[in-house]
């Protein structure tokens, strides 16, 4: 051990480190989507929001030199896309899923267009905290270098869970999502609540995007997201619309995604692509186990277009 090699322990360590790295964007997008869906709307456009967030964060970080301003810009860009989604969905006879798909294409397209000049330059990146200072082993230090956004996300998940239970806004969001008739009968504007919930959801998804361009992989290119936004939307469903479960689901998904590279690093190369597919196999397996044609999803907000 003294020479810094830890043998097969590399795999779980790499999976741990990878889980944290890979899960961060999933965590933010799924928490954002959790808020939006609890208000009774599905925003599939978060894939576009994620890419748009990545681009804005990279651009602003490059221009101002402050990665945190980049994160803020990503959040604002995300809320603008959220407002657009909610605004279009407020019109009569508009389907939120169709609008989401349109905004997914719009967001990615716009980001690619505006981001063309950003592929070359290097922007300042987000900091990480070194929790592995006590160890001499490089793999341990690498795994314990934890990015600040992840920590923010970890704090945010229980706060959201608490807010859904005990704050006025949490109760209103749930009311709008569970029974729009009740919300209207109480004199609240369902469209207004959903607009705000979708904007906050977009804000968080945008921050998730900033992680991609400012921490890991840490640059701007067009293949940055490759469907992570959509995957995070699906994560919300199997996290049963519970913010804490979103955290665990993101971590499980991140860990599964880190399995392939981790095995490769210790020399297991056969079936590399199979291991890379682990997150998707995991998703399928969970979906098959937990879904049934005979019953509705437990915990699903009653106003969602997929459950109604």
């Amino acid at each position: 051990m003294a020479d810094g090699t830890i043998g097969l322990w590399t795999v779980p360590l790499a999976v741990f480190g990878g889980a944290i790295r890979v899960s961060t964007p999933f965590l933010f997008v799924s928490l954002g989507e959790c808020i939006t869906e609890r208000s009774g709307r599905i925003n599939l456009g978060l894939e576009g929001t994620l890419v748009m967030g990545a681009m804005s964060a990279y651009g602003i970080s490059y221009l101002t030199g402050s990665p945190w301003l980049g994160v803020l810009a990503a959040g604002l860009a995300g809320s603008l896309l959220g407002a657009l989604h909610a605004g279009i969905c407020s019109l009569p006879r508009v389907n939120d899923i169709a609008v989401g798909i349109a905004l997914m294409l719009f967001g990615t397209g716009l980001a690619f267009y505006l981001g063309k000049p950003l592929i070359e330059p290097t922007a300042p990146r987000l900091p990480a905290i070194d929790f592995g200072w006590w160890s001499d082993i490089s793999q341990v230090r690498a795994a314990l270098r934890i990015n600040v956004l992840f920590l923010l996300g970890v704090v945010l998940a229980p706060i959201l869970g608490w807010a859904f239970r005990t704050t006025r806004w949490g109760l209103l969001i749930r009311t709008a999502g569970e029974s729009s008739d009740s919300a209207r009968a109480m004199g609240y504007s369902v469209l207004g609540i959903r607009l705000r919930a979708t904007m906050v959801g977009g804000f968080l998804a945008g921050i998730g995007g900033s992680f991609l361009s400012l921490f890991y992989p840490g640059s701007w290119n067009e293949g940055l997201s490759s469907g992570q936004g959509i995957t995070a939307v699906a994560l919300v469903i199997f996290a049963r619309w519970d913010p804490m479960l979103c955290l665990w689901a993101s971590l499980a998904f991140g860990g599964a995604a880190a399995l392939g590279p981790a095995l490769q690093s210790v020399g297991v190369t056969s079936g590399y692509h199979l291991f890379n597919a682990a997150p998707y196999i995991l998703t399928l397996a969970i979906m098959i186990i937990t879904c049934s044609p005979k019953r509705t999803l437990t915990g699903a907000p009653a106003e969602l277009s997929i459950t109604r």
Binding site: E178, S179, T296
Partner: protein, 510 residues
């Protein structure tokens, strides 16, 4: 409220609606209607579906703005722009459809209903205050339970408690007892009546149950087709007077007398089990045999598994275990079996369960036979003329009010959608008929016609299973009655040998 104005009187509030006219486009929903509810009185508002009762109370509550006329609260004219204004004046309403959020607890629902929900809710303090409030109230509800887990009766009590919690002094109840057993209805209305007598509350109740009007109301106002048809003291009126005022000169279909012989068993259920959407057991070991020429009624408070039972019989839900036999053969609810056994189905919410809303009346009328002669040649080429001819015949025979056979069926009123389904299902020979709440929300004329058709099918020798939440309907039509409670059949009696009280007791699980 204007500052400096003298405040409204304490205690129960009176509300008057004077010369109210309400137009929706060309349609005159209310025509110069007057309603005077004395403070501290229990007032019943009667009328058929579409008579304008809901429109009138929605004008009072500020959901609609009357085209003409004025609303007086506590003797003073008020401009009620929206429901919040009405709430500020102390007016409240309990809706026919529950406005509680099912996925939330009772306590959450109560706190949420307040106008001043705190930004951060201190649940320990709120729970203490709610418990103190409940201790003063005549009925109890479990605060910590989720609304989806409590019974319909408890939900209705919650709705009423919510209004009292909000300190309403004038309460509008829209068909408040439609989901309650007769005993529960008497309990709830009795307690509200006591609050009215004590001078704390005025109640305006929309209903169609004369029994409740006679037992609890002081005054009654009757609307017919948007006009004031009559009003007066309940003590001076009989149910017959009120019914005549409601219906007017319209002639009702006469129900044929019971006749014919009871024959062999046509529909048999053997230890049938089915789950609900949440995966819980909804129908538990249900066994029943219905013979030709008899109507078996299934009574029960909504949500005790009746819906799932009918869905299994209709092929909309798979049974978990057990067997259904029709005329001795095992039945799987396939279209072929339904046709062979001449089965007919009148499901509840016909527009949702028995029709395709966007398709024409003619198409909907032909669903059972559309791929056979004369509607289709060779089983695939549809003959539009045959659809229209058949539809026109049935539209005439069953008095379906529609612009024409090509109108989408969703454009028809509830009564006419049900008439169309009736025409399709009862137009030919019927051996087995399954009907679920066939008259829910329909006017007298439609109800009389549907009852007559069901009785006629029985007299022709059909085995009829009638699931209904309306006990009067069941007692009127059934030969035999079964009560369903928590998914099981708990009581059975011949119709002549039981009464409302006895059935009500079993519906409540006692």
């Amino acid at each position: 409220m204007i500052i400096g104005e003298t405040p409204l009187p304490e205690g129960a509030l009176g509300v008057d609606a004077l010369a109210v006219t309400m137009k929706f486009g060309d349609f005159l929903a209310l025509d110069n209607v007057e309603l005077k509810v004395r403070p501290g009185s229990f007032h019943a508002l009667l009328g058929e579906n579409g008579a304008g009762k809901s429109t009138l109370v929605k004008c009072i509550m500020g959901y609609y703005h009357a085209t003409e006329g004025e609303i007086l609260v506590g003797g003073r004219q008020q401009a009620i722009a929206n429901p919040k204004d009405a709430h500020a004046l102390g007016l409240g309403m309990v809706y026919q459809h529950f406005t509680l959020v099912p996925a939330m607890t009772v306590a959450e629902n109560l706190v949420l209903a307040r106008d001043d929900v705190p930004a951060v809710v201190n649940w320990a303090k709120e729970t203490r205050e709610l418990e103190a409030f409940l201790a003063r109230m005549p009925f109890k509800v479990p605060l910590k339970a989720r609304v989806s887990d409590i019974s319909a009766g408890e939900r209705q009590k919650c709705e009423i408690l919510k209004q009292l919690y909000l300190k309403r002094r004038f309460l509008i109840l829209d068909e408040p007892t439609s989901v309650l057993t007769p005993a529960e209805a008497d309990e709830v209305l009795g307690m509200l009546r006591a609050m009215v007598v004590a001078g704390d509350l005025t109640i305006l109740m929309i209903t169609h149950k004369f029994r409740e009007v006679m037992a609890f109301a002081d005054d009654v106002t009757i609307l017919r087709r948007g006009k004031l048809a009559g009003h007066g003291r309940v003590a001076d009126l009989t149910p017959d007077d009120m019914a005549r005022t409601m219906i007017g000169a319209e002639e009702l279909t006469v129900q044929p007398a019971r006749s014919g012989e009871v024959t062999a068993a046509r529909l048999e259920l053997d230890k049938l089990n089915a789950l609900d959407d949440a995966g819980a057991v909804a129908v538990h070991d249900v066994s029943l045999s219905i013979r030709g020429g008899e109507i078996v009624g299934i009574a029960g408070v909504s949500g005790n598994g009746q819906r799932q039972l009918v869905e299994v019989l209709a092929g909309q839900r798979e049974a978990e275990s057990g067997e259904i036999r029709v005329i001795g053969e095992v039945y799987h609810a396939s279209r072929e079996e339904m046709r062979r056994h001449k089965m007919s189905l009148l499901p509840e919410e016909p527009l949702k369960n028995a029709c395709v809303g966007g398709m024409s009346v003619a198409d909907n009328l032909a669903f059972r036979e559309f791929d056979r002669s004369p509607f289709a040649s060779g089983g695939w080429w549809l003959n539009g003329a045959a659809f229209r001819d058949d539809a026109e015949k049935k539209i005439g025979l069953y008095k379906i009010k529609t612009r024409g056979p090509d109108t989408p069926i969703a454009a028809l009123s509830g009564g006419n959608v049900q008439r169309a389904v009736l025409a399709r299902e009862l137009g030919g020979d019927v051996e087995v008929l399954i009907a679920a709440n066939p008259c829910f929300g329909l006017d007298f004329a439609a109800v009389a016609q549907i009852h007559a058709e069901i009785m006629a099918a029985r007299n022709r020798g059909a085995a009829v299973l009638l699931v209904s939440e309306d006990l009067d309907e069941l007692l009127e039509l059934s030969d035999r009655l079964v009560v369903m409670f928590h998914g099981q059949f708990v009581y059975e009696a011949r119709a002549g040998q039981t009464d409302l009280t006895e059935i009500g007791r079993h519906m409540a699980g006692h």
